[in-house]
């Protein structure tokens, strides 16, 4: 894939929608093309991961291994979404396992590279953090809904 | 004689009226004294009526007293309402029996009881018309009520003895009756006379009166009757400001005052059992011991019980405050949306028969008072 098409991929991805062309241009410098086949781990819990992934197609599970219970899937992330926020803060370590559930095509964006660019261009930095905040808020809201265990009806079981 | 006519009958003629109604196949039901209260029961003659009794009512307080005027209707209302005759507290609505592999109906509805209600107060007449809106609104929804109601003969009595908990003037339902009666009485009793001005409401009412000794009502009789009602209007023990009340209650779902009421309310449901317009009921299915016959009963229910709002997994209204809010908001606000009238006729029973004297008029003021209560919702 060429640099040119990286830019196109980012521009068309919902997460980057509406970002200024010069900012997209900047981000392309931190991007790399990646593929995973079903069963591949994108990252493992505790692993240093100074990346995040822009999922283009396929489905990734975010899971945690619970002794005596096995792997429990917390959520799935699919084409059109992004995965990973450990790159935002030190020590840049993953809290969960992420595994490709299907064939996955993605761009990986380098954390150190991004942090450097965001420090230098605070307008980009603000825009970038705003988008990550929205993502985190959405995931938090979803998690709160899951916590409510809406469809469970414990006294009926 | 025709609807709209007024005549005068002497007190003794009232016995003839009761007899005439019984001859026509009506069971005559009216007020009588039992267990220290005026209740409704079968009355065969005026001697069954609470002659010379009056009542003293306040929040959580009811006492009978002798009254030397010997009036037959010299009191307000007791704990009963006509609801118990038109919607009996427990009524078989269906019966079935087990047959091979299934069940079949086993109930042939008989003819409805034919009641003549004697002594229907104006507030109660208003309550009956409210009930008609609810239970006759959808034809066929409640065939039992329909047949009882259509068979009932109503002898209304204007109210000359409002009690301390009465506020029919505020609700526009009394002390003089509106339409809906077959015959309407106003009792005129003093040292010199004991008569009734009798207004004819329907043709079948006229037919009954034609067979009774009576004379045309003179202007003086009508003036005397009017004076009784004027005097009664001035003796309301309570009042309720209804202007804007619905909107105030609708804004007050989250008013902290509900918690204050909850501290006093016992959730006993007395208010709903004495209310003449309350209509909530439950459906109870049961079987006999061998399980071959089953019965479905409609039983009075109260929105003050926790089970009332039960949906699988739990009840919707678990707090006493929420249940009181439901009751008063229904009566005074959402009733208008549902049936186009208030659910309250100002009879005051819920105040009198509340064991702790919670007063609908005081709570309505406290909740939706003109000075917007803190915490109300915009």
């Amino acid at each position: 894939m060429t640099i040119q098409s990286f830019e196109k991929v980012l521009a068309e991805h919902p997460f980057f929608k509406g970002l200024r062309p010069e900012h997209l241009d900047t981000l392309v410098g931190c991007a790399a093309n990646v593929r995973f086949t079903a069963g591949d781990f994108l990252f493992r819990e505790g692993q240093r991961i100074d990346h995040f992934w822009v999922i283009r197609e396929g489905k990734v599970t975010v899971e945690v291994f619970v002794p005596n219970k096995g792997e429990v899937t917390i959520e799935t992330v699919e084409g059109g979404e992004v995965l990973g926020w450990s790159w935002l803060f030190p020590p840049y370590k993953a809290h969960f396992d992420a595994r490709a559930l299907t064939h996955v095509r993605a761009l990986s964006l380098d954390g150190a590279c991004l942090r450097g660019k965001c420090e230098k261009d605070t307008v980009l930095g603000y825009e970038f953090m705003r988008r990550f905040n929205q993502l985190i808020v959405e995931r938090l809201e979803a998690t709160r809904m899951q916590l409510l265990d809406l469809y469970g009806d414990d006294d009926a079981r | 004689m025709q609807p709209g006519d007024s005549v005068v009958i002497e007190r003794v003629v009232l016995d003839a009226l009761l007899a005439a109604l019984r001859e026509r196949g009506y069971e005559t039901v009216g007020p009588t004294v039992r267990e220290g209260a005026i209740v409704y029961d079968e009355i065969r003659a005026t001697s069954d009526l609470p002659a010379g009794w009056t009542d003293e009512q306040e929040g959580g307080h009811y006492r009978l007293r002798r009254d030397d005027r010997e009036a037959l209707f010299g009191y307000a209302v007791g704990p009963h309402s006509w609801r118990r005759y038109l919607e009996p507290p427990s009524l078989v609505r269906w019966r079935g029996r087990r047959v091979d592999g299934g069940f079949e109906d086993d109930l042939t509805p008989g003819p409805p009881p034919r009641y003549a209600f004697v002594g229907v107060r104006p507030c109660e007449l208003a309550a009956l018309l409210v009930k008609d809106r609810i239970l006759l609104g959808d034809p066929g929804a409640d065939p039992d009520y329909r047949s009882r109601r259509e068979s009932a003969f109503l002898v209304a009595v204007n109210c000359g003895s409002p009690a301390g908990t009465c506020f029919c003037v505020s609700m526009g339902t009394g002390p003089r009756f509106g339409p809906g009666f077959d015959l309407g009485l106003t009792e005129l009793v003093d040292d010199a006379r004991h008569d009734f001005v009798l207004q004819v409401g329907t043709a079948r009412g006229a037919a009954v009166v034609e067979g009774l000794p009576h004379r045309p009502a003179e202007p003086a009789d009508l003036t005397a009757a009017e004076a009784v009602l004027r005097e009664a209007e001035g003796r309301m023990g309570r009042s309720l400001e209804t202007e804007g009340l619905k909107e105030r209650l609708e804004r007050s779902y989250e008013n902290p005052h509900w918690d204050e009421v909850a501290k006093r309310c016992l959730s006993c449901g007395n208010c709903t059992m004495v209310c003449p317009t309350c209509f909530c009921s439950t459906v109870e299915d049961s079987t006999d011991l061998p399980g071959t016959r089953a019965e479905r009963r409609r039983i009075w229910d109260s929105c003050f019980s926790i089970e009332f709002s039960y949906v699988h997994g739990g009840s919707v209204r678990t707090s006493a405050g929420a249940r009181y809010r439901q009751w008063i908001t229904h009566k005074l606000a959402t009733w208008h949306d549902q049936f186009g009238v208030s659910g309250c006729v100002g009879c005051g029973r819920c105040i009198t028969w509340c064991p702790v004297g919670i007063d609908i008029t005081a709570e309505a003021r406290a909740i939706g008072g003109p000075a917007e209560a803190a915490g109300s919702r915009p």
Binding site: L150, Y151 | G102, F103, I134, S281, G291
Partner: protein
């Protein structure tokens, strides 16, 4: 009253709505651990009870009791009354124990319908949670049968775990169609589950419908309804084009017993399906 003094002849009354009519059990099928689907047919000599999507019946087990259950069958096949039921109380557990040939009393159908007729030409967005898929299924049948009348058709379904998914086989069939988008997600799963994990509202965010020309129908727990309609509003829909199905205690089903009140509404006859804008003000209030 204007009835004559004697010989009262009551007007010919419609059938008493409190009388259960016997239907025969054709099939009891297990759906999930505590949920089953009951298929009823009219007893010989009885008439079918045609229904509209969204309506419910009162089901009576002889001598045990009666419960309100939404109809989950195909409105174009009214000769089969299909109900999906969770066994949570005495009556629903008694229903679960029924066998082919047993009898169940039926009253109904009652209540308002999903706006399938008013939605012609528009996108259909169905959002269901848990057993809330059951009252939505008649809409799916109807819309797929009359597919040309509608724009895009989207079904978004959330369940607790993969084991709690209702109508799994039908969901697979619907997913296989090219003219409907069917997304299923669960709140939690183990690694064997190949589908999505996450809440149903997340599916709304990226679902391919046109918010300016869509009719949404939501059925599930009240909290899920609130969150789902928020997500639909975020997508640009208005509360006038969102419809929800409500649950309250229903005893008589004809608006006379008072149990199912929700503010000024009787859920049994003003609902269970409401235009969301009508009841939204009551939604944020507690214990109403």
């Amino acid at each position: 009253m204007t009835t004559p003094d004697s010989g009262t002849a009551p007007v010919a009354a419609p059938p008493d709505p409190m009388w259960p009519e016997p239907f025969e059990v054709r099939q009891v099928a297990r759906e999930t651990g505590d949920t089953f689907t009951l298929t009823l047919v009219p007893k010989v000599g009885s008439q079918p009870h045609p229904f509209a999507p969204g309506q419910f019946n009162m089901l009576y087990v002889f001598g045990v009791g009666e419960v309100p259950i939404s109809i989950s069958g195909d409105p174009d096949r009214p000769e089969l009354l299909v109900h999906t039921i969770r066994a949570v109380g005495a009556t629903t557990r008694a229903l679960q124990k029924l066998k082919r040939g047993d009898q169940v009393g039926v009253r109904g159908p009652f209540g308002t319908r999903w706006p399938v007729d008013q939605a012609h030409g528009q996108d259909i967005v169905l959002v269901a949670g848990g057993i809330g898929l059951a009252p939505i299924r008649p809409v799916v049948y109807h819309v797929l049968r009359h597919r040309a009348l509608y724009g895009r058709v989207v079904l978004l379904y959330g369940a607790r775990t993969p084991h709690d998914i209702l109508y799994a086989r039908e969901l697979r069939d619907w997913r296989g169609r090219f003219d409907a988008e069917v997304e299923v997600t669960v709140d939690r799963a183990t690694i064997e589950w190949q589908g999505g994990v996450g809440v149903v509202t997340k599916l709304i965010q990226r679902s391919p419908f046109d918010p300016s020309s869509a009719v949404a129908m939501i059925c599930g727990p009240e909290v899920m309804i609130r969150f789902a309609s928020l997500a639909l509003e975020k997508r640009g829909m208005t509360t006038a084009s969102i419809h929800v199905s409500m649950e309250r205690n229903m005893k008589c089903a004809v608006g006379l017993c008072g149990h199912c009140q929700l503010g000024p509404h009787f859920v049994c006859k003003d609902g269970p399906v409401f235009r969301y804008e009508r009841i939204e003000p009551l939604f944020g209030l507690r214990e109403v």
